[in-house]
């Protein structure tokens, strides 16, 4: 806080709302609110991670066997796709800070494209689960390799239930993220962001990076439980 009296509200920057002292306070308030929301998201996903941990320790054999049927190269490539999308988001925030409108729009569109590629690959993987009868329900059947310890069908279903719940909730967050970035891109195209005011880009970016972090944990926990050579 400076000693000089606050500047008259009449002369403030167009993006400043009257109940904030200056742009920095306004920006910090928005970002703090987003971080609190992300805190609730951590607890939301935390519940599923907890269920996963308990069942993984109880039924390790089935979780390991189920994990080995997931497509490792595709999972790794999809992780890389999400990391690329996080890069374009980080660079788009930078473009907004510098006021480069066309670069901002290009990076935002690239982010949406990466997000859609991730979702497309995810849909392909889910489809694989249907043809392999790995979707929990009446037609579930886990065909095991002869070298493995006997796999309990019910316990294997718990692994795939958690797989679908966790990747499904993550994909739902991705779909919402693509929607949010659609709106942000439209706003950027209309020239709504300036170096002084681009908080929506930043806040949407925080959300996107958070969803990326969830996947950074989901990838090793679901795909890499037990990939060591056996026998």
């Amino acid at each position: 806080m400076s000693d000089s009296p606050a500047p008259l509200a009449l002369e403030h920057t167009p993006g400043l709302q009257h109940h904030f002292a200056d742009m920095e306070q306004q920006r910090n308030a928005s970002s703090l609110g987003m971080w609190i929301f992300l805190g609730t998201e951590i607890m939301f996903f935390g519940g599923m991670f907890l269920a996963y941990l308990v069942y993984r320790m109880w039924y390790f054999n089935e979780f390991a066997a189920g994990s080995r049927t997931l497509n490792l190269p595709i999972g790794a490539v999809n992780t890389a796709v999400l990391i690329c999308s996080s890069l374009t988001v980080a660079l788009s925030v930078r473009a907004a800070q510098l006021g480069k409108r066309m670069l901002l729009v290009t990076l935002l569109v690239l982010t949406i494209l990466f997000g859609l590629v991730f979702l497309g690959v995810k849909a392909y993987e889910w489809n694989e689960k249907f043809t392999e009868h790995h979707v929990p329900g009446y037609s579930f059947h886990f065909k095991q390799e002869s070298t493995e310890k006997p796999v309990d069908q019910g316990r294997a279903q718990i692994f795939f239930s958690l797989y679908f719940a966790m990747t499904g909730m993550h994909a739902l967050h991705m779909i919402i993220g693509v929607g949010i970035f659609g709106v942000i891109t439209w706003m950027a195209w209309r020239g709504r962001f300036t170096p002084e005011y681009h908080t929506p880009v930043e806040i949407a970016g925080l959300y996107w990076h958070f969803v990326d972090i969830v996947w950074i944990y989901l990838f090793p926990l679901l795909y890499l439980i037990d990939r060591r050579p056996h026998g």
């Binding site: 935390g46 320790m57 925080l206 990939r227």
Partner: protein
């Protein structure tokens, strides 16, 4: 006072590190390290998450201390959720909780 504008070179470097770590974690999972496989996978994931939070999400450069308080509290709550629940599940008499 004003916000930090990071160089795009830094973002590209972090991106390259994250891609490399993804490759490493996929490869190291196929090497037999015994119980350490899970530990290594989680350490790499946490390292990646830390890079994203500090650089991509600008937490390293924020002047707002409240943001850090919120993040640390959120992680602390997560620790309570996981830690206390797991001790509850695993110190019960076998059979009571339905586990093997």
């Amino acid at each position: 006072m004003s916000e930090h504008i990071l160089s795009s070179k830094l973002y590209w470097t972090i991106w390259a590190v994250l891609i490399c770590l993804t490759g490493i974690t996929a490869w190291v999972s196929t090497v037999d390290l015994g119980p350490l496989n899970t530990v290594v996978a989680l350490l790499i994931a946490s390292g990646k998450a830390l890079l994203v939070v500090l650089i991509f999400m600008h937490v390293k450069y924020t002047s707002e201390k409240l943001t850090r308080v919120v993040i640390i509290s959120a992680l602390f709550w997560l620790l309570i959720l996981l830690g206390l629940s797991l001790t509850d599940y695993f110190i019960r008499r076998p059979g009571l909780a339905g586990g093997a």
